[in-house]
Symmetry: C2
Subunit: 517 residues, 2 copies
């Protein structure tokens, strides 16, 4: 792939003679030019590569492979190898999440992912949530350095995992594209991130450009490029996601919703992009639910009601321990469809013996033996659902569009990947549109980073996207709260927006009655 | 000076507000653009500079000074300071000689030299001559690293000296221009230099471009640029010298001769440059003379014959211990003018009682009590003199020119600076042309480096000069040896080339006879 952030070229320059005594650097750069690297792109050697010229070149009879790393303006020759090693050409991309790091080793010749490794972000030991970490490091350069080192250690460990899994010398990679939110990028660079959460929200940087891996103490050659961000709450991970989904490449209108710890939203097409961000996430991921848990073995991830009973599936198909995001969405959808929960999201104890008050307290649905989903869990979840929906609705209103104008509704992130699309519509998290227009592209932060890795031209594209983005501030308007109340209902106070859901509910409840009778 | 390798700019961006929450990096770069740094010139932050943004910027009420280092393609912001510190803006240049390092701290705003420091090249402990050092390090990366470290230590020590002398924080300098021969540059970069002296003389590099000071372990910010060279024996020090003398800027023809450990020669003007190099130096600098010594206290540096006696001056005006280059040239000129030495360079014992055979051995001139300059010293010296002259003569022949076509005859280096111009002509080292056309510009390697430091456009100029240079190989031709024999005479076998010298000799000898009679 000629457009990637690194190149490997097999060169066979003539060996030096009395008649042709060009210095090694010139001899090699001349050959690189012959292979089509334009004179518009400066080429230089790293000090390390200079030092490896001899005796490597004569020992290899001047049949050598050079690795070129793109520094944003030109190429740095980072490594020389004997013989033709162009097939072994790899690069790295990483989704630098506040909880999880996911890194891919990418074959830069084929574009294929050779291996993927994931791990917890070692910053977690300084606080599970970002704010704790920010306060830990605030105005304390020593602690900030700890966080920076922890981040680099996290990345290094993933590099080791990838190396162990594939046998590839990962330190020879000449490019790492990082996609992360603004705080994560600040910590990676060793920058105080209090600015991200504090007025006037002027952060240290949203675009540091390519930086030498050495300067960040990463055990690899070449350059690290953090996908640039739009604003404090709208980081490079979202810009990367927009690139991955390609919503700015098409005349058709898209909604791009990323629900993680926060909710980020982009609406637009090739002509405009409106962006916003707001608190959304943890409840959706099961964070504030009493029996909520991560999507780990034992988590209920699928729920259906059949013959008056709640049937569950667990990850690893072992005894249920709790419930994760996709299980919750399924559960609420089924409760609603079968009339065990009403439009307001209130449990209906008359509807089923599984709706009860354990130990005489709060109403709850017993979704598995001894595991209860309480009314307050539902309330909390629906509030968060409403926040996400309202972001979309509010933004569409601001632009003067309605959901009917939208061709594609993207739900990025692990959440979108795992929840049942139909259930998402049922509870009103997704709009009631043709299901093939609801697209769950997975970890777009990572796939966008990979896309950039394989096409350095996307650096400019990302900058252009950011220039095009209009940032909308949520929550600061009365209208927003008003909309949110409506969206707290299941699926929404305005039934007309959810014709397929209401139809289905009617059918189920009619059949249910038929079944009972 | 706007064209230097570094800039300092005082910036007063607006402080961030809710309405203007640009990130710090963008805020600062926007301001830099307003100060006239063209959009054609990329600007980026070093990781170190990024980390210094906070709390420096708010603490300084956003009145800050940035230092920009030119990396060959764009600017790296290397340092931020509170307030307006633009007046304290310095850069470094160094003549990286195999024996001596001479460094200057240059005021980048005024172009003035603030201080100069010199010291022996610490490589000397690995061999006083270059070849010994090359063999010491040949094919031994560990020893090569020793030499590299020694070189860096030498530079660091000079930086410390400059700092101690001026109180300037030298580590804040963002540019160091290095002018050195090809071997010295190889050692600085940590490259095996055997290639410099071994066929096919294809060296590792003649132009490594600007390199990060960090990558070379130099205790400063920014970039190190080694002036590019033309060939193994014609390094960046000569290219730098040609730039300093400006011989390629004029339509008039110049000869540029640098006599150090080797002799390097450039003939040309704005249209062409012919270059060559050959063994020349040590004899001229007193190296192979039995009582020869460096230009240190006690060295005879000026000689004249008056009333039949040799009168000498010593450096430090103390008792003579030996004789240095300028003393030797004076001595030979006087011996010749007074007839104590003949045209062939042979001492004439009948001419003076100071020409004698100490202890019954070889003929010698007793130039100071107990200090003898032997016939074999003269022979050796004249051979070297002949080599230098013959380079010039041979090259002029190759080009099809004669000395009459030459407007300026530059003799670069310490040698040219210290020897008496008239004596140089007398012994035939310089041509017998109008004395104001003989120019001794001093250490042009250093002044060229300084010129580059203050004008980064000269990087391109240097590359163009090199592209224009035609390299002539000396010594490989019969004609060269033939010419050399003629040039071994004093001043030359062809008297007609030295009319003023022959006239003066006649006069002196006539007056001398008158004085005797």
């Amino acid at each position: 792939m000629k457009n990637g952030w690194s190149r490997k070229l097999f060169l066979c320059p003539d060996a030096p003679t009395a008649e042709d005594a060009r210095p090694d650097t010139e001899r090699i750069i001349d050959e690189i030019r012959k292979q089509g690297i334009s004179g518009q792109e400066p080429v230089r050697f790293s000090v390390k590569a200079l030092r490896s010229l001899y005796p490597l070149c004569p020992d290899a009879d001047w049949q050598i492979t050079v690795t070129l790393a793109w520094d944003g303006e030109g190429w740095e020759i980072t490594r020389l190898e004997a013989g033709d090693t162009t097939a072994a050409h790899y690069g790295l991309c990483v989704d630098l999440g506040s909880t999880t790091l996911v890194m891919q080793l990418v074959n830069m010749e084929t574009g294929q992912v050779e291996a993927q490794a994931a791990g917890f972000n070692p910053q977690i030991r300084y606080g599970t949530d970002i704010l704790t970490r920010i306060f830990y490091t605030k105005d304390d350069p020593g602690r900030l350095a700890e966080l920076q080192k922890a981040t680099v250690r996290g990345l290094s460990e993933l590099m080791q995992k990838l190396e162990a899994e594939t046998g590839v010398d990962v330190s020879a990679c000449a490019a790492l594209i990082v996609s992360g939110n603004t705080t994560m990028v600040h910590f990676l660079l060793g920058l105080d991130a209090f600015c991200v959460f504090h007025t006037p929200y002027a952060v240290r940087t949203l675009d540091a450009g390519p930086l030498s891996a050495r300067d960040l103490d990463l055990p690899m050659d070449g350059y690290v490029y953090c996908c640039p961000g739009k604003a404090n709450y709208l980081g490079g991970d979202i810009v990367s996601g927009v690139l991955a989904a390609g919503i700015a490449d098409s005349p058709e209108l898209s909604v791009f919703l990323d629900i993680g710890t926060n909710g980020e939203l982009v609406v637009g097409n090739q002509d405009f992009l409106v962006v916003g961000a707001g608190a959304a996430g943890p409840a959706l991921e099961g964070g504030v639910v009493r029996t909520g848990m991560r999507a780990e073995p034992g988590a209920v991830d699928r729920v259906r009601i059949r013959e008056g009973k709640i049937q569950v599936h667990t990850i690893g198909e072992i005894a249920p321990k709790g419930i994760c995001g996709s299980g919750i969405v399924d559960l609420l959808a089924e409760l609603f469809l079968y009339g065990w929960m009403d439009i307001r999201g209130k449990l209906v104890p008359e509807a089923s013996r599984w709706i009860q008050r354990p130990e005489g307290g709060e109403l709850a649905a017993e979704y598995a033996p001894g595991l209860f989903f309480f009314q307050s869990d539902i309330d909390e979840f629906l509030k968060t659902k409403a926040a996400a929906c309202t972001m979309v609705e509010y933004m569409l209103q601001v632009i003067g569009l309605s959901m009917e104008d939208i061709s594609r509704f993207y739900v990025a992130g692990a959440f979108g990947t795992h929840i049942n699309k139909e259930s998402g519509v049922t509870i009103g998290l997704y709009p009631d549109i043709s299901r093939d227009r609801i697209i769950c592209p997975g970890n777009t932060s990572l796939s966008g980073a990979r896309k950039i890795l394989l096409d350095r031209g996307l650096k400019k594209k990302a900058e252009e996207l950011i220039g095009k983005m209009d940032y909308v501030q949520f929550g600061a308007v009365d209208d927003f709260l008003h909309l949110m109340v409506a969206a707290t209902a299941v699926p929404h106070t305005d039934f007309s927006r959810y014709p397929s859901v209401m139809r289905r509910r009617e059918e189920i409840q009619r059949h249910g009655e038929e079944a009972k009778s």
